[in-house]
Symmetry: C2
Subunit: 344 residues, 2 copies
């Protein structure tokens, strides 16, 4: 099956390549009959303009890349990415863009970035001073960061992680809890919370600041820190681990709803009543949060809105409007039923 090109159509229709090109891209310039004849022949011999060749000359691909963090297994199973992509895709549908998910190629983000035929990138949790960031700059196409420490000159979308975290911790403390465990999302600097970056750092800061108001600190005694991956099963594991240990907290502050949901289900299994025996809060307000029993008190963030805004900004930049504002979307404490004052 020899490939059919614009030349074949031109020959068969007795016109030039130019006319065929016009028939597809700017039909108004040709007499209707000609357009129709060309399109018919094209259909007949199953011709479709080669999108790569088209991109070659136009310099545009009509796709935007979404750079997934190293740990896809960590992020994809969560309902988070769906919602985020949904926000992006709504914008894309409107303006006629496709979405390229760019996972690391054989472990290398750099290679993935350099290979992706896209007009711009949205990065998710990619921090400054990484190889990925260097390559991103080399590509010399617009990109915008989401959930990273903002970088000068690069548009950014973030949420009020710190505000939200402070609010939810404050709520737990006001309920009277003093003996608690913070469950952070596992990072590359295990339990060295002073070295956290990005979202992790912001949320931690929020927790610490609320603790400070109550003259508490992360001392490993009253207030402890554990880490686990942001998956339901990891949450279940950590609960078992925690509940088998000597000192049981009266409240758990989890850095993600996914973890919290895992904890709730494991607690239920072991006959631990929530919130009677143990209070718990999460972060993100994913859809399940309102559906689990008891409904989870958490911090809502506009995940959909984040995707939507990121895509909108990126496309503006692709279209030449240079904007590099840093946007911060609000978070909100959502009070449900998973917190009660400690027993006794």
């Amino acid at each position: 099956m020899p490939k059919i090109t614009i030349n074949d159509i031109a020959k068969k229709a007795g016109v030039s390549k130019t006319s065929v090109s016009y028939a597809f891209n700017d039909p108004g310039r040709l007499p209707k009959e000609t357009v129709q004849r060309i399109l018919e022949i094209a259909k007949e011999i199953r011709y479709v303009p080669n999108p790569i060749a088209r991109s070659m000359t136009t310099g545009r691909t009509g796709a935007l890349g979404v750079l997934l963090p190293m740990s896809i297994p960590e992020i994809i199973p969560s309902p988070f990415l769906s919602e985020f992509l949904f926000g992006i895709s709504e914008v894309c549908t409107e303006v006629g863009f496709s979405i390229m998910l760019v996972p690391p190629i054989m472990g290398s983000m750099e290679q993935a970035i350099s290979n992706a035929a896209v007009d711009g990138f949205i990065t998710l949790g990619v921090e400054e001073n990484t190889e990925a960031m260097v390559m991103l700059r080399r590509r010399n196409i617009p990109f915008i960061t989401v959930d990273s420490d903002p970088i000068a000159g690069v548009p950014a979308v973030n949420i009020e992680d710190e505000v939200g975290a402070r609010a939810v911790m404050d709520y737990v403390l006001k309920a009277g809890h003093r003996n608690l465990v913070i469950i952070a999302i596992k990072s590359e600097t295990p339990c060295r919370f002073q070295e956290y970056v990005g979202t992790l750092r912001q949320r931690m800061n929020g927790y610490l600041s609320a603790l400070e108001n109550f003259d508490l600190e992360l001392d490993g005694d009253q207030v402890r820190l554990l880490e686990c991956e942001s998956t339901v099963s990891a949450g279940q594991e950590i609960f078992k681990h925690l509940w088998n240990s000597q000192t049981k907290p009266t409240a758990i502050v989890a850095m993600s709803d996914v973890i919290a949901v895992g904890i709730i289900s494991a607690a239920k299994e072991q006959g631990v009543r929530i919130p009677a025996d143990l209070s718990i809060v999460g972060f993100d307000d994913i859809p399940i949060a309102s559906i689990v029993f008891p409904a989870l008190t958490t911090v809502s963030q506009p995940i959909y809105g984040k995707g939507e805004l990121a895509a909108t900004l990126l496309i503006q930049n692709i279209k030449g409007k240079h904007k590099d504002a840093h946007h911060i979307l609000p978070t909100k404490l959502i009070i449900r039923e998973s917190v009660r004052p400690p027993a006794t």
Copy 2:
């Protein structure tokens, strides 16, 4: 900022374009010093080979397209797509492919298909005899269908929808229910279940076949059919609607877990006890199914495995092995706590 090309590097390094190309793609052929010098200069002036131009000559993009059905809003928010993409992405990461999500461009699937610079497509629920299918053939690149009625000569991945549906309906009937409502996913042929196609048809067939064994049929009397979108909120709506009507069923058979979860939460809100007052089953076994209270009896399907298999097959076909087998993955009845014999 003038674009930097392979020429700039060649000039600066005092070598030919060919050598620069080798330095990037086949470094073994050049003396190590030369390679190093070229790469250094490239880094210095921030050169990255243009992926489009590369695709132009190689004829390969290193991306596979995932064709989303018309209704993204319908599918993306569900945990289904995440899991499916996760399966695909694991394979892609291994072999160095990216994933292009291809939503309709301004409502047109055809245009989206024709524009996507990919080496092959995975379609999700796209049926034969659609415009999309015609365009897919015109593209003349490999594609494989998932969750569609199999097409001769086109590799397909499906699950035992009918078997699973029959099993779950049978389970409900054996529990003693006779007064029930089937909630189907809203289609383009509303309530004309004889005209259902694809997954919808398979599941419906399964339900009907189980009913037949109990000498029951879909008569609008004992066994009724309703339709709703596969979203939690649509599930909640339909429950309210249903529970306000005259005749209340003793069991609900929902065609998706998402719907079932919506129903459960709405029921809880209205004080209807599940399964004491009402039994319910779903389909898919999404992660929430085991977490909601009561845990949902449903049919599990290997969503992740579907993505994995589809990607594997597609990539094999892209690499030239022509396979067009139709694969059918198993489903399994998962018994949990949402069904009990009817009261009285």
